[in-house]
């Protein structure tokens, strides 16, 4: 039973758990599955609805109107000089991308236990599927935001977009890493503790108010500012608005901090996910 004996075999199954190494090669072999899963998720959302894919736009639009009414008119909160619809829409859109990814990923094992219990494929396909779907939604919403943007521009509103606009894909990528990272970290725990699921949905709606979605960071009192900026999503949303509208808080240090946090969170998530994917089925 020397090492040479093992080399002839394609798969060796033993009690050992893999901890760190992540098998990207294996995942690439299943890229057709990822594509089909994405389609399955996308279709299942709007099958047999009247408005179909229009819902992807209607939801943030309705939130935007509500925020304009509640936070803009009743509470009279500022928007750093950005037109209210654009301010709220951009915030909701980015937040929804992060929150949806996180929530869907955190349910990976619980929602797919039927599938995972019957057939083997790299479990990481599902978090990727969820993230990509949320990303498609974000793209549609981004197009709508650009319509608003051009409309305001043509009506003589002077935005001063900055060169930081080219970093937009990076902002989105960061949100994806954060959402997936936290999501898959929690997914490993929800298999055992179902109460975490409630905590996730409730926690996310609370966390939204600790993130500058409906208010700019500039309206936060100085002594609380640092605390708010520790939230890794905060600098991303602020940088996004700064890039497109040229106003708001521009803090490169906080942004780099959030970039580091995103990568670290994602890597830790990947490790816990990997560690758990082999044994969860006996627990779930």
């Amino acid at each position: 039973m020397a090492a040479t004996d093992n080399e002839e075999w394609d798969v060796v199954i033993s009690a050992k758990r893999k901890r760190l190494g992540f098998d990207f090669k294996e995942l690439r072999q299943y890229k057709d599955l990822v594509k089909l899963m994405i389609r399955r998720e996308f279709v299942s959302v709007y099958k047999q609805t009247i408005f179909g894919p229009l819902w992807f736009v209607l939801q943030p639009l309705m939130s935007t109107f509500l925020y304009m009414f509640v936070f803009g008119n009743i509470a009279q909160m500022g928007t750093d000089g950005i037109p209210q619809p654009l301010f709220y829409f951009s915030g909701t859109m980015l937040w929804t991308f992060f929150a949806t990814t996180l929530q869907k990923c955190s349910d990976t094992f619980v929602n797919n236990s039927g599938l995972f219990g019957k057939v083997y494929f790299p479990r990481f396909t599902m978090p990727i599927t969820y993230m990509v779907n949320a990303f498609f939604t974000l793209c549609i919403q981004f197009a709508v935001m650009m319509i608003f943007y051009v409309y305001y521009f043509l009506n003589g509103f002077h935005f001063t977009p900055t060169w930081w606009i080219v970093a937009t894909p990076l902002y989105i990528f960061q949100l994806a890493l954060l959402g997936m990272g936290f999501g898959i970290m929690i997914s490993a725990l929800t298999t055992k503790y179902r109460d975490l699921r409630n905590l996730v949905s409730f926690g996310l709606s609370l966390l939204m108010y600790a993130t500058p979605v409906v208010y700019p960071i500039s309206s936060v009192p100085i002594k609380w500012k640092l605390l708010f900026q520790l939230n890794p999503v905060t600098p991303i949303i602020e940088m996004f608005r700064f890039s497109f509208f040229g106003s708001g808080n521009y803090d490169i240090k906080m942004w780099i901090y959030s970039l580091v946090v995103s990568v670290v969170v994602f890597l830790i998530g990947l490790m816990t996910f990997n560690h758990n994917e082999q044994t969860f089925i006996d627990v779930v």
């Binding site: 093992n6 002839e8 075999w9 394609d10 798969v11 060796v12 199954i13 033993s14 009690a15 758990r17 299943y30 057709d32 599955l33 594509k35 089909l36 899963m37 389609r39 399955r40 279709v43 299942s44 099958k47 047999q48 599938l115 995972f116 219990g117 019957k118 057939v119 083997y120 494929f121 725990l189 055992k192 503790y193 179902r194 109460d195 975490l196 082999q278 044994t279 089925i281 006996d282 627990v283």
Partner: protein
Amino acid sequence: MNTMVKVENLSKEYRLGVIGNGSLWKDIQSWNAKLQGKPDPWTRINEESRIGRRDRFWALKDVSFEVQQGERLGIIGRNGAGKSTLLKILSQITTPTKGTVKIRGRVGSLLEVGTGFHPDLTGRENVYLNGAILGMKKGEIDRNFDEIVAFSEIEPEFIDTPVKRYSSGMYVRLAFAVAAFLSSEILIADEVLAVGDIKFQEKCIGKMRDVSENDGRTILFVSHNIGAVRQLCQTGILLEHGQIREYGDVGMVLQAYETSLRG
């Protein structure tokens, strides 16, 4: 002859009863009590500790066997004998507690018919989805698509209708047809033939014999249906309480099984 699957001293242990306490708060309380050296507040009365020797159970114990290329092995045994646990380990769904499994080639596992079928997707879309879940590439499905539909005996005009409108027979026939065209070197099937009418069942067994005899594919087949096992397999394993009771020629193993059922 090539050995395709080599199972050595495979054991799987399960913990009986509740794993953890089911809620994070209770586990934190138990953990806190342990830190302070107090007894666990969630221990049941008259119970030593929650994780005692008694609540462990071996679903599989020291199972070893080998499967050669082109061999069709039937795994039989009564409910709870460890058949499904064995297949789950071979399909990489769960890990063993001890021992190893070595596999040459790709494994296609059919522990259920129509895994991942989505009721809102059409027959065509589900064929692709299910195929991909079972490990097929898109190109492979493209090439075999017409044959899959023909095998399933579904009229071509139904293939673009959501599968929730299908009769249950059509649904399982389509699902099995996808699996029948799996090109993996090893096929693992668990009771999948308990579906469809007798004619279709025979067709499936015929197809499995066919791929094994002509393409040299290896088949591991679990079933309670003695007739189907006799028809399909050459060798057999009789499992009892997680251990191999009989291993060898299928006729002999089936006889031992029948005796054990009566006794």
